[in-house]
């Protein structure tokens, strides 16, 4: 379970980052000091004082990457949760009710799948510019429903969640289709359980192992997507240190100070590898796809 180890230590590091900074184990991620630049005002290479060097404003790269983990991990995990909730809901409903709802939902999923997720996410991100949305009919005074669209943590994980749920639907639906015919589901229905009860009490627990594996694997995808969006400058707004924006900010200094770009990149890779390994490990343990392959 090396995946668990990697993910666990990253999460721990992200959680204690502010404490570390406060106790001066880590430097301040936003403090811009003249000590962090050389005489020509260029970033410093890795040294004893700055383990991974400094960036173009003299900020400690190590500290920014560790603090960046807080943003990249929370956006990634929240986006995964959003995607999983949408994916599982659509998948369970489609699989359980069968036609015609199944056809409708799966066709909608297929349409969403044809739109490249990255483009859709960028287009959504373009919507976030402070406009107010009134999701209630204009004759109802339900102003508590008003949402202001603005770039930030909240909107970015919702956007990523909204474009990455399609992969989950297919697998969940397939499992539910198979489960629906099983005796214990039929028995529960015969005893007069409502559809909601059957789905929540009998179907969902049986799909749970699959969902957990899919969730771990899709977190790898959402973290990559967040990094990509931040790299393009439409992710979490500055000065928050997200890994993608750290790379984008470091690019102009790449030739002189490649460490600014290399370090956050390695952080991304480590995290994504961690979640992929975690997914693979969980798959072996939970064996949700029940492959008859034996060694």
């Amino acid at each position: 379970m090396s995946g668990l180890l990697i993910v666990g230590s990253l999460v721990l590091l992200a959680l204690i980052a502010p404490t570390l900074s406060r106790h001066h184990v880590l430097l301040d991620p936003v403090e811009q000091s003249a000590r962090g630049l050389d005489q020509d005002g260029m970033p410093l290479a890795p040294s004893k004082q700055f383990l991974f060097g400094t960036d173009n404003l003299g900020r400690d790269v190590l500290s920014r990457v560790i603090h960046g983990a807080r943003i990249s991990l929370s956006v990634g995990i929240a986006a995964m949760a959003t995607a999983t909730i949408i994916g599982v809901t659509v998948g369970v409903l489609a699989g359980y009710y069968g036609r015609p709802l199944d056809t409708l939902l799966m066709r909608f999923t297929e349409i969403t799948m044809t739109i490249p997720a990255l483009l859709l996410a960028i287009a959504f991100a373009g919507l976030m510019d402070g406009k107010q949305v009134h999701p209630h009919p204009s004759w109802l005074p339900w102003h508590f429903l008003d949402v202001t669209l603005r770039p930030g943590l909240g909107s970015i994980f919702l956007i990523i969640g909204f474009v990455s749920w399609t992969g989950i639907v297919r697998v969940v639906r397939g499992q539910v289709l198979a489960l629906r015919e099983r005796d214990f589901i039929q028995a529960s229905k015969a005893l007069g359980s409502s559809d909601a009860r059957v789905m929540l009490r009998h179907i969902l627990p049986n799909v749970l192992p699959t969902i957990i594996v899919l969730a771990a694997m899709s977190t790898a995808g959402t973290i990559l997507l967040e990094a990509g969006l931040s790299y393009l400058g439409i992710g979490v707004p500055p000065p928050a240190p997200s890994w993608g924006s750290l790379i984008a900010d470091g690019q102009p200094y790449f030739i002189a100070a490649p460490h600014i770009v290399i370090v956050p990149g390695i952080a991304i890779i480590l995290t994504v590898v961690g979640f992929n390994l975690l997914g693979q490990g969980l798959q072996d343990v939970l064996d949700p796809f029940q492959k008859p392959v034996k060694k």
Partner: protein, 309 residues
């Protein structure tokens, strides 16, 4: 044969419906962007009268649904409108950008399949060997690399430092090598893994045992009987992956400054150039749908069992 024909024609009809759905979603998302294109087109110093005239000429003052109807009508006649920024026809903009993207994607897919097929077959043959496990680890890492970061690193190390490749731009096939290599590193491991698991399943089947019992050479067993059957599910995934490949292509083109569809799409989103956004999204959606359709046809050709279902 008749059944096949009906099935395929219903698939074709469905593909058109999917694209219609895509156009609805994209149209309303793209038009929800709260920018005023008339003001942008008129320029900073335009008076209210000019802006109003442009708004009227471009039909921005009509209801959304009517605008969509107008768009669809144009689409049916092969007219995707004109860019708000350059006034270039969208179809021309896409067609001039197509060669770079098409050449890059084709080169990348060919290279990574050339790498993934032998590796996948060999890892299936020597399961749980050191080689197998190394490939698994490398594949997982490849899948976990951010395309834009990997591109930059390769560009720095192999083009800027070592000078083996051109750094950026597009003036011939040599400029595509490094971007293609980026995509190969990202995807080859994943496909090697797909071929691996598909092969493992096929190799334990009766017909492979039969082929071995007949005394066929191992090469013939692996490639003629094994690989041919193992490739079928892989082709499906490849067809579905076109959308994902496009995501990688967007970043790769961005890093290597290739004048392809990806850079066009990115620019259009940042310029809020709605006709180009619509055009590029619809175009890529059409590519995805066409790929899926192609896979369907290929199925019938490769696997006679499909016809019976």
């Amino acid at each position: 044969m008749n059944v096949t024909l009906t099935r395929l024609s219903s698939r074709l009809l469905w593909s058109v419906l999917v694209l219609l759905g895509t156009s609805v979603i994209t149209f309303f998302v793209a038009h929800a962007v709260p920018a005023d294109p008339a003001r942008t087109m008129a320029g900073a110093k335009a008076d209210a009268e000019t802006i109003r005239r442009i708004r009227h000429e471009m039909h921005f003052d009509e209801p959304r649904v009517q605008q969509y109807g107008r768009y669809l009508w144009g689409l049916a006649h092969g007219d995707l409108g004109k860019s708000y920024v350059t006034n270039q026809r969208v179809t021309d903009a896409i067609l001039t950008r197509l060669p770079a993207t098409l050449a890059l994607s084709t080169m990348a897919v060919v290279f990574w399949m050339l790498l993934a097929v032998p590796v996948g077959v060999l890892t299936a043959k020597f399961r749980d060997s050191k080689f197998d496990r190394t490939v698994l680890v490398l594949g997982t890492i490849g899948l976990s690399l951010p395309a834009f970061w990997l591109g930059r690193m390769l560009q720095y190390a192999l083009a800027y430092r070592a000078g083996y490749f051109p750094v950026a731009g597009f003036r011939g096939w040599r400029h595509l090598l490094l971007p293609a290599l980026t995509l190969v590193i990202l995807f080859a491991g994943y496909y090697a893994r797909l071929i691996h698991s598909s092969m493992v399943e096929v190799l334990s089947s009766d017909y492979v045992r039969m082929a071995r019992a007949k005394g066929l050479s191992e090469i013939a067993v692996l490639f003629r009987h094994g690989l041919r059957n193992a490739l079928i599910p892989v082709i499906t995934v490849l067809g579905m992956d076109v959308a994902g490949l496009l995501g990688g292509v967007i970043f790769t083109e961005n890093v290597f400054a290739l004048p392809g569809i990806g850079t066009l799409a990115l620019q259009s989103v940042f310029n809020l150039d709605v006709p180009i956004i619509m055009g590029t999204v619809l175009f890529s959606a059409a590519m995805v749908v066409a790929a899926n359709l192609g896979v369907d046809f290929l199925y019938h050709w490769v696997d006679p069992r499909v016809k019976r279902d």
